[in-house]
Structure formats: C-alpha cells, structure tokens
Subunit: 138 residues, 2 copies
Amino acid sequence: MKNSRELLADCGLNCTKERMLVIEYLQRHRTHPTAEGIYEGLCKMNAGVSRATVFNTLKSLSAQKAILTLQIGDGATRYDIYTTRHAHFRCLNCGKIEDIPMKKEDVMQLPFGYEVCQSDYHFTGYCPECSGKGHSLS
Amino acid sequence: MKNSRELLADCGLNCTKERMLVIEYLQRHRTHPTAEGIYEGLCKMNAGVSRATVFNTLKSLSAQKAILTLQIGDGATRYDIYTTRHAHFRCLNCGKIEDIPMKKEDVMQLPFGYEVCQSDYHFTGYCPECSGKGHSLS
DNA sequence: ATTTGTTTTAGATATAATCTAAAACCTGTG
DNA sequence: CACAGGTTTTAGATTATATCTAAAACAAAT
C-alpha cells in the first residue's frame, strides 16, 4: 500500500500533516466513513485537524481519483481509499457497508457513444450475517 | 401507465390531492427531479403543496417501492417513478441524468448469502451528445 | 532565510432534509 | 349525508451536511 506521502505526490498535492492524517485514517478504517466520522476520529486522536480541512482534503483526493466518493444510504457521503474495481453492499439490518469483489465481466457495457468516467454498483439488502433472521419480514 | 389514484391504492396510501399532484408531476417529468425541483414545479402551478408534504410523499412512495430514490451526483436525492430494471447515466457536461436500458444478464450476481433488495447501477461521464467535444480534456 | 503561492482554520453561511403540533382532510360507518 | 377517528398537511423551526470567507500558518523552491 502506498504511503500517504507518495499518494499526495502522485496526486500533485502538497504534503501537509493534515492531508497525511486524513489519508492514514482512511487506510486504517476501511469502513467507508463519512467526512464527519473522519473528523471525529481525528479529534479523538487530538490531531487538531479542522472540519473544513477534512472536507477540502477529501475533495482534492477525490478530484484526483485517489479515493472514491460513495453516495450509498441516506446520510452523508462516504469515502473509500480502495479504488480498484469493486461493488458495494449496504446491510439494512447492521448498517455495514461492505466491498464486493467484481469480475471484469461483471462490468456492464453501455450503449455506443457513452464515455464512462466512473461506474458505481450499489446493492442494498441483508448481508450473510443478518440474512435469514427475519429482518426482511417485519 | 397506472394513474395516481391506482398507484396510491396499490401502496395502501390514502388518496390525497397533494400525493396525486406529486405522482403526476413525476409522471410528466422523467428528468429525475429533486424534491426541491418537484416542490418548485408544483409552486409554479399554484398547486399549494408544501415542501414537507413533497418530502413526506416521496418517502412514503419510496418505502412502498413505487418510486426509486437516486443518490447520483453531488447534490440532493433524485426521484424516478419508472421502477423497472434500468441503470442511470449522469453527464458531467450537460448535467442530464439518463435512463440506460439493462438486460437481465447485466445484473451482477452477488456471492452466496447476500439477500439483495435493491440494485443501483450509476455511471458518470459524457453522454453521446457531449462526448468528443473536448470536455474531458480540460 | 526569504519569498510566494498554497493550505488551514473557526465561524458564518448555504443547502438538504426532518421535526413539530395544530389544523385540515380522508375514509369507513351509521 | 353527517360523523368520528385516524391520517395528512402545513409553516416554520430545527437538524444535518457541506461550503465559503479572509486572516494566519505553512510548504517548497530559491
């Protein structure tokens, strides 16, 4: 895994301690956290990073495609530093958002003429741990 | 196409003039509008429907799976009353969100154990009208 | 060390969505 | 049709999410 310094260099972004902290937080927490979640996590570490900086950093990294922004679920935007091809699954019972491996042939072919920059595959339902426990009956 | 009264009956929702207006707006505007967009559209018609009612109605219809909620793009949630299987494409140049037909075999198979309730396929890029005009170079 | 452009910051602002409780409405029943 | 009782609507307040601002701090090249 690329370290935060290399990642920032690859993105053409100046290396600041705040950006490094955000990247390292994402590398340690592969739970698809929200900006607020990252901010709170950093606060607990007494990192002294402001909310605006967390948003700014996520925006810069996202613009460079170094992280994915996920609009899954109802709440805030979530972020994922794992950028290779994969789908996402959100469990309606436990709320967890999981990575789902994708094969090359799972990628849908669009009609001629569309120039695709980004593909998002989102599934919602019950994960193997929560499925079959009657959650879907209610 | 089912009329608004039938649709509400199928959802087990009382038939009110406000709900009918929201449904009919969605049937006439297949542009994946936001709640705010629907509210403004209804205001222009002097429909006298409040913002809260637009949100309430969309939430009820969504809970009954009578409409799709789309978390595509950066802004607000968008709504689609066309609920049969299809993907969505958002153009980075013109902003339009288009329906993309999907074949049964385009639906990705998840690993064993996952109980899928909803699948969302979102693509972002340049639509045939905007592609090849240098927008992706900038 | 100096310079210059970039980044960070706290708080204000903007945007999206939900909550509140009173009034209005829908629908089934008589 | 009139009534009763639960449901829905409403305007405005509130919450949640994200961005803006301009001054201060910082990074990186010299």
